[in-house]
């Protein structure tokens, strides 16, 4: 079965890397990838995660006060 992914788009790579670090600390499967072509963003990288982890990802971003632009399904 194919995995269902979403991505978090950030304003800066520092924020993206911070989000990756926070997610990995609680053992979430995440990966920094180049921003998909159809999602315009200035920051070159975004954080990919499994759809089912969305509430956890949102909580991490909120608790860590990580600024982000949006979350998209890909």
């Amino acid at each position: 079965m194919k995995d269902n992914y979403s991505v978090v788009i950030f304003y800066s790579t520092s924020a993206a890397i911070r989000a990756e670090s926070l997610a990995k600390k609680v053992n979430l499967k995440v990966k920094l990838i180049p921003v998909p072509r159809n999602l315009s963003s200035d920051c070159g990288i975004c954080l990919r995660f499994n759809n089912e982890d969305k509430p956890k990802i949102e909580k991490i971003l909120q608790d860590g006060k990580v600024e982000y632009e949006n979350i998209y399904k890909i």
Binding site: Y11, S12, T13
Partner: protein, 383 residues
């Protein structure tokens, strides 16, 4: 060779520091925050790990509130010039380095009111004197944590409480304490913490930064420089978020990789252990020097706590001549003169002559301290 000039820059560095820098140059290399490829991300991760390590060291919640600069001087300039406006008052002590005094004297010409609170000739600052100097237009208090001349500690925690109570900010210059003395931005009530990477944090020169506490409104803190950040590239205005607001241009990634390894080394050894060890070196050195007839050691008579920076003079010998003999005849490296801190030397009564300064690190030994004491005994006798 005995190196006793660690207050200028630490030497040697832990071997891991050079290894981390070499690894970066050979295996990573790329510019962080600019491109989306693997190497750029890895470079960004190294920067972030360095911020995380610093955040742990200073007890900062959000590592992105740590801004990298060239050194502590740049960090202090950013804080002072970014915050102070004509009509504001700023309070400081008479024990400050020129990294604080010179920006303040420049700001004074732009109608910032500068109040220098005197310390005692032993280097003691009474917090009540700071509180008395506070006025309606006071915006900031700036203090060094550890003196770069006599190693004494200023009561930043108590002054920080005063600052909070009066709703003003405290900027602390930790050039001599970050890495060798426990620091906690919350417990010590620090709003802005300026640090350098190349002293007790064991990083290479060209690294340093400013920690921006939660009480600081970043809209009020103007960047020292603006430019490319790799973010918000569609706009010609500087982005407002951290750290990008204050970090423009390609960073010193190779240096920061080294700094990261330096901080990891401190965690491995333990900062309290490092401090206690350096304190034992200082106590032995001070006691040994004081036994030598004609030697004056500056600072308080009974010191309970300090960093490993000690200033002294031998009778009427010139510090420069003592320094030359230490280097040529005894293979001991130290720093003599005014140590970029005329204010401190005026306070302790050694201006314009200056002092001989010995400053130590984790890598100095009790045997080296003994040899330094013997050398001074020799020089004092032969004069």
């Amino acid at each position: 060779m005995i190196y006793l000039d660690n207050a200028a820059t630490s030497y040697p560095k832990p071997k891991e520091v050079g290894q981390a820098m070499m690894y970066f140059l050979e295996k990573v290399g790329a510019s962080p925050g600019r491109s989306g490829h693997r190497l750029s991300i890895e470079s960004g991760r190294i920067l972030y790990q360095t911020r995380e390590n610093l955040a742990e060291l200073f007890n900062v919640d959000d590592p992105l509130r740590i801004i990298f600069t060239l050194n502590v001087t740049e960090a202090i300039n950013l804080a002072l010039k970014g915050l102070l406006r004509p009509g504001d008052q700023v309070i400081t002590s008479s024990m400050e380095h020129n990294s604080v005094m010179r920006p303040l004297r420049e700001l004074e010409k732009r109608e910032v009111e500068v109040k220098v609170v005197p310390c005692s000739p032993q280097g003691v600052l009474y917090p009540v004197d700071i509180e008395r100097a506070i006025k309606k237009n006071t915006k900031l208090i700036v203090l060094n944590h550890g003196s770069n001349v006599i190693g004494s500690l200023l009561p930043i925690t108590v002054v920080g409480e005063i600052a909070k109570r009066h709703d003003i900010l405290l900027l602390v210059d930790t050039a001599q304490t970050a890495g060798c003395y426990p620091l906690d931005i919350r417990k010590d009530n620090i709003d802005l913490l300026a640090f350098t990477g190349h002293k007790a944090l064991y990083g290479p020169p060209g690294t340093g930064g400013l920690v921006i506490g939660e009480r600081v409104d970043t809209k009020e803190l103007i960047p020292l420089k603006v430019g490319g950040t790799g973010s918000h590239s569609e706009f010609e205005e500087q982005p407002g978020f951290l750290p990008d607001r204050y970090e423009s241009g390609t960073p010193n990634t190779v240096g920061l990789a080294g700094l990261n390894a330096g901080i990891s080394f401190i965690f491995k050894e333990g900062i309290s252990k490092i401090h206690q060890y350096e304190l034992s070196l200082s106590q032995k050195l001070i006691a040994g020097l004081k036994e030598i007839p004609g030697v004056i050691v500056y600072g308080e008579e009974q010191v309970k706590d300090q960093v490993a920076v000690i200033s002294f003079n031998i009778k009427d010998q010139l510090p420069s001549e003592v320094g030359l003999r230490l280097d040529e005849e005894y293979d001991i490296m130290c720093r003599v003169g005014l140590h970029c801190s005329p204010a401190t030397h005026k306070t302790i009564g050694t201006f314009p002559r200056g002092t001989v300064r010995f400053s130590m690190s984790w890598f100095n030994t009790l045997e080296e301290v003994d040899q330094a004491i013997m050398a001074i005994r020799d020089i004092a006798k032969s004069a």
